[in-house]
Point group: none
Chain length 430, copies 2
């Protein structure tokens, strides 16, 4: 079976936004055994859109479009596709009622222009939009007049905004997939998320244990991200699940101490889950990460049962006043130092009454380097029931990468200590 | 002139990486008046690659490919394109010398496989790779045997790694552009960033004032993001700059109070720039946004001169202890209330000595709703030299969207007040 994805939007062709739809849709489908064969992006210009959809429908079993279903003048997918296929647009009262209730639920008047979103091509199935007003539209073209042999094609049109598109794919499109394209080969994809060991070392360690499975046809992939390495197994056929499970078992036996989660789990999700399950409370004292860790932890539903408080103590006065860091310590060692990281973590733990407190103080750059402490220098403190440890890292990257990587190190440090239930005297680095 | 961009790589089609090349190349070219008409992504599979390049060469004046020039078994672009065009691959001693010096400069042995990178299709121009080993390749096909009318096409093949591709485009491709495609029309693209007015309302307001310019050929585009709407003007020809400037003038005259920046500026960049320029200091007291605002503000270089401190006061005890919110207020009104938002903002301002302090307290969901305060309810306080205002919003979205949108409202509130230099008694909403 062949799949073609068509992303519309002049902002794409002008390079004003990243095409995140492509990655997300390709990924969600690949994880279920459906590989997109071709992705095409074009502007909102009518002729380009018609040409791309026509070509896609002329050769693929499934064509997905994104964008162009909204209420403004550059949203033309609905009308152009209907015209291409010779289908009338019909007013759909249920869709209109949904649009109305969307605005009423937010105490806003219904804009006149949104009425066009209630127009549905003859014979199209409506895909409910729970996070916006423009519904998705699906047409099962059987026969497909644009294919020389008339074989059927499923045309699925999705709205552009990611927070509307993503739930629609998961809740409206995927449940219809098995009916439209039954009997796909078994496909299992499993990703183990690791932190603390580089990609090349990871590969060296796993080469031997996984050789037999790779020789037998399993795909082994490594993806290095900032502060993380994903190890990915892909297998197909009736033995796929067994092969991937065996690969996971061997990998955990070899490099288990670096694995913090699987598939799409983030470090902050694991942190909230493990703290929550143990009834532990957390506090954060961030200087150079500037709230990045707090933000990620509070992205996880249930974070409020774990995180007591966070302090973004950029200025030295804030470190003194909010966390009780002694003024003399700041003067003697500087804000970016082992003793200050220690005092920040212990202060945050004392002030909030948390079980564990994490502190971060470093030089994110581009400015701020001092002799002996280049840009990227960071001290990460963890204060817990058994004492405090501080590790020193050098994360010499751009500002946002610095924050992300430092957060990975800080979260994995506190997670490891909390799960071990004790704090060693030192971790051999700090 | 028509331009087609072809990105190759199985990792793209499996959704494992974002296609950053698309945005970057489209943007760099658009800013110089060259708009990419179509972008195609396909896997490393030979048939898919040949089909995509053949189609592109059959219709475009300029075809750019990325990826597939490296030394490994899945790098096939060089060899497949040469075969398609009936050109032999010739050994290129200068390229081999460059590859050799690349490895020698890093004290590493030259891998045998890299020798394939010194093979160049007959008649191709070599584009120097200063950051890697695989050179780019450019072929001026005149006549182009794949176009029915034989019109010429420029085929430019670029390596996949971004830190190799980007300098190659800037230093090797752009200087050759004027020779290949002289006399491009003037092109001006301008984006105004707005917050506080929905896409449909925005278009309704601008319809009249911009009608004449749109009728005259200017492209008007809207891009709805979370809590923001981009309004984009594109014009071509000798009058382009004048037309776009006039569109901007009329738009500012009509919806100026919603415009916070232009082109790639983010709200946090504008905030740091405006506060910094006025010598103003900021403090943040975040409950439901959990450090999201602090994180975004501290992503901006120079934030340390503006942000004195941030407090992530998730727990009530933290609101009392760190910000001095009276216990009785929390008991009487609940943490999500106008008086608590007011006390948080004023507390943060007093404790830190900042000129302005912003507070956020609300219900991010999915749980936490109480009678009269559904999920999404949020109170945003701004305390400044002239007093405190609190606005109430209903941002009924998923957790991350809630945080983002609330942050937009909070940052635009404090920005507006700080730029006005005074705090009105009420903003008419809270």
């Amino acid at each position: 079976m062949t799949i073609e994805l068509i992303n519309t939007g002049s902002e794409l062709m002008l390079g004003r936004v990243l095409n995140t739809h492509q990655q997300w849709i390709c990924r969600v489908l690949a994880d279920r055994g459906y590989t997109v064969d071709r992705q095409v992006a074009i502007s909102d210009e009518s002729a380009a859109l018609v040409a791309a959809v026509r070509e896609g429908l002329g050769r693929a079993d499934w064509v997905i479009t994104t964008g162009g279903l909204g209420p403004t003048c550059d949203d033309r997918t609905r009308e152009l596709v209907a015209a291409m296929l010779g289908r009338r647009l019909e007013h759909h009262p249920e869709v209109e009622a949904q649009i109305r209730s969307f605005f009423e639920g937010r105490n806003r008047p219904v804009p006149v222009r949104t009425q066009v979103e209630a127009m549905v091509p003859e014979g199209a199935e409506v895909l409910v939009n729970r996070h916006g007003t423009a519904p998705g539209l699906a047409l099962w073209l059987d026969p497909n007049p644009l294919r020389p042999d008339g074989r059927p094609t499923w045309l699925v049109m999705l709205p552009g905004p990611p927070r509307e598109l993503r739930p629609m794919v998961l809740e409206e499109v995927l449940p219809r997939l098995a009916k439209r394209f039954p009997g796909q080969e078994d496909f299992v994809c499993r990703t183990l998320k690791t932190t603390g060991l580089g990609e090349s070392y990871m590969e060296e360690r796993l080469d031997g244990p996984l050789k037999e499975l790779v020789d037998g046809g399993m795909d082994l992939g490594f993806c290095a991200r900032v502060g993380e390495v994903d190890v990915r197994f892909v297998a197909r056929g009736p033995e796929a699940a067994r092969v991937v499970a065996e690969a996971e078992r061997r990998t955990r036996a070899t490099v288990g101490e670096y694995i913090f989660g699987a598939d799409d789990e983030s470090l902050e999700q694991v942190l909230v889950r493990e703290f929550s399950g143990r009834g532990l409370k957390l506090a954060l004292a961030e200087s150079c990460t500037g709230g990045h860790i707090a933000n990620r932890v509070t992205n996880v539903p249930g974070a409020s049962s774990v995180l007591l408080a966070g302090f973004v103590t950029y200025a030295n006065e804030a470190k003194e006043r909010s966390l009780g860091v002694p003024h003399a310590l700041l003067v003697e060692h500087g804000a970016v130092s082992e003793p200050v990281a220690r005092a920040m973590a212990e202060g945050a733990r004392t002030v909030t009454g948390a079980d564990y407190a994490v502190s971060v103080t470093g030089i994110a750059g581009p400015g701020g380097a001092v002799p002996g402490k280049p840009v990227g220098t960071v001290f990460i403190g963890v204060a817990g029931p058994a004492g405090t440890v501080v590790r020193r890292e050098l994360n010499a990257f751009d500002r946002e990468t610095f924050k992300y990587l430092t957060a990975q190190q800080a979260m994995s440090s506190v997670l490891r200590l909390a799960m071990a239930g004790a704090v060693p005297a030192a971790d051999g680095r700090g």
